[in-house]
Symmetry: C2
Subunit: 481 residues, 2 copies
Amino acid sequence: MKNEMNLTMLTDFYEFTMMNGFFAEGYKDKIAYFDMFFRRVPEDGGFAIMAGVEQIIEYIKEINFTAEDIEYLRSKGIFKEEFLKYLENFKFECDVWAVPDGTPIFPGEPIITVRGPVIQAQFVETMILLTINHQSLIATKANRIVRAAQGRAVMEFGSRRAQGYSAATIGARAAYIGGVAGTACTISDELYGVPALGTMAHSWVQLFDSEYEAFYAYAKNYPTGCTLLVDTYNVLKSGIPNAIKVFDEVLKPMGARPKGVRIDSGDITYLSKKCRKMLDDAGYPDCQIVASNSLDEYIIRDMLLQGAKIDMFGVGERLITSKSEPVFGGVYKLVAVEDNDENIIPKIKISENVVKITTPGFKQVHRLYSKSDSRAIADVITMHGETIDNNKPYTIFDPEHTWKKKTVTDFYSRELLKPIFEKGKCVYECPDLNVLREYCKMEIDGLWDEVKRFENPHTYYVDLSEKLWNLKHTMLEEYQD
Amino acid sequence: MKNEMNLTMLTDFYEFTMMNGFFAEGYKDKIAYFDMFFRRVPEDGGFAIMAGVEQIIEYIKEINFTAEDIEYLRSKGIFKEEFLKYLENFKFECDVWAVPDGTPIFPGEPIITVRGPVIQAQFVETMILLTINHQSLIATKANRIVRAAQGRAVMEFGSRRAQGYSAATIGARAAYIGGVAGTACTISDELYGVPALGTMAHSWVQLFDSEYEAFYAYAKNYPTGCTLLVDTYNVLKSGIPNAIKVFDEVLKPMGARPKGVRIDSGDITYLSKKCRKMLDDAGYPDCQIVASNSLDEYIIRDMLLQGAKIDMFGVGERLITSKSEPVFGGVYKLVAVEDNDENIIPKIKISENVVKITTPGFKQVHRLYSKSDSRAIADVITMHGETIDNNKPYTIFDPEHTWKKKTVTDFYSRELLKPIFEKGKCVYECPDLNVLREYCKMEIDGLWDEVKRFENPHTYYVDLSEKLWNLKHTMLEEYQD
């Protein structure tokens, strides 16, 4: 199976009314700069994780209006024929920069920048927001759950409760970047290489005349991957004794070892301790205990605090919908235009609500790391092209409370926004998903523990360069006049 | 654009391990019955709305394993060649019943029943749950918001925050069944006929040298659908005065009337009252005021209670993700099998947790309506084929507290579960989306107001027929022995 869905028309209708209007007003070739950024980490966490760049690239490459699409738009009776002709021959010509998948990201910094004809840069808004908001939400949530599991494997089990098909398929991809070990979603394995796993539902057990027969049949068919669901009737009185009986009768004679048992209901922490002892006593200390049933990072943390003997967690609806906060509020804002002489004119969006004021201009994000321990120290947003000399002390300051300063020495820095498209041509090769997952882990390992707390994390520094700060404040002052 | 995604492989991996196991155990042709049902209405509401049947039908019709799919499965090294051959020639042979889209549904009643070879009936579990859980969630949420708006139009604006592509596209379809007037999502109009609407973003206003020029250009291009976004700078000091100026200068000479103004930030209730007066005084009492910005049913209710002068609501992330409760917890359980003589053997899933005990057997759901006012009185779950004589008094009783009885007279009843597939052949024609939306509205009008409250709604009666109650309790008693 391949995803052959053309997503060109998945766009807010106002993109079309604006494009047609820009076209009519002679702004077809006007160059504009848009930033995608977000204002708050879901669940007030210390950081989020970027995900979805690969799908943005696929989407942009495939932008293409079919004859039916044009006919549909024509039928609305509000679009100029000249504009429809333009769409018929649409060719993407923008430059795009993006922070790579798997990178920890913070509020206020541009994570995608699009530069190009306003009519095009505006058009891609909906899909850029939809794609990055969704995947970053899930990667971030998955990573919280994975960290709560303290090294134990977490499996993504949520397809049946996902918000639609791509929430399941692409959601599993995002969860994998965030660190889950695999998924129950078969197509995500086939399409993206997220390892898929699964054994049995309660219906398997119910269909046989007894739990013992059900386990026996399963073990016979899957001697090397034998994980049995032990809670259809009674975990301790029936499930585990039957499992042990079948391990002894079917696997032992073959020289095979059991893979695990899964508990999907009841007081799992309590049950897991009893199960562990029963399995150990029966000679199966290597038999894993898998837990599932409405888990999330908080419940997993509590279970482990109470000494649950669990080797693997299956996490469903609360991961795949990011149930505790199911929205990643990324926005896409105009930050500059070019005049006829290619001068960049920064644009600012003022708001009564201070957090909604945008940072104007064409920008870059630099991450500063300590040379001694490779920890991330701060991010600095600069004008695009502005450099940070890693060989000199660099003073960062809080953009709100500018008297709060810190001089960083012995650091190296890297630019986070990478070129993805140049004049409409893709110039970025997406790393393999396993590489992204490893990169994500490494980058998060490089964050201070204080930033990684679930409650009251430290606010990671995201500062502006002096040049950018001055630009923003000059514009704010001018606006007040 | 057409949705050409083959969703056959969007299934939990355990469906394959079970299918392969059933196959190996000689259960390939064993007939099983599965019910989909849910246990709790999201947000503790009084009812949910069924949605997604059309997509289930499309999915089932398209089930088809490609050579790549088979090769992928073979590469796992755990599936028998015979089984893979079976998949290669897979032909769906089940019977399916479903409650039609737009029907109010209640906890505990089967909303989909699948009867057929267990290997097939098991296979479709993931997609049935995924599809119905998602769409019913959104239809239910949208309907809450629509009811809070008390007759004012609600537009679905959430694509950019939706959990993936189909959450946006099919989500808009579900929201339309639930009663929204339209969507911002263009492709949902093109594909499903959900009316798409949209005008401008803040970037439109920012791109021009002034708000006035931006409005002027928009009005000139869209004289008959002119809705202006008035909060880029200052609603009362700049947005509304500029809008009125443009209405006077551009629209009036053409004899056109403005469509509306949209407020997307600030204290919208307060601003709407001021705007209303300014527009009325300027001779535009017919100019609508549209409100957007993180709305939901609770905020809308409060705004209207405080006298907000709003004619239309644009609702985004809180609708399209059902933010306050983003999971619809439908499950799919084995309820019966057939023996070799085609006798139906009911199956029950026992649980310590009483709410998780299933209702066994092959069933039908009847809805009883009062003849006098067409209000829905109760649903009665019966054995399939059991009839309810509408000409005789019918006594319903609470399945938990059986002494609570009520005799219904002067009623008519109808069966909710309709045949969708018969021996694998689709026998159901999906009504037009507008018909479904109208049907949904009518059915909800027929519910008592007490069931429609947001807080503490009455529990609508969902009872079992005496025959079904006896079956369930006999099986429970037997299990205890």
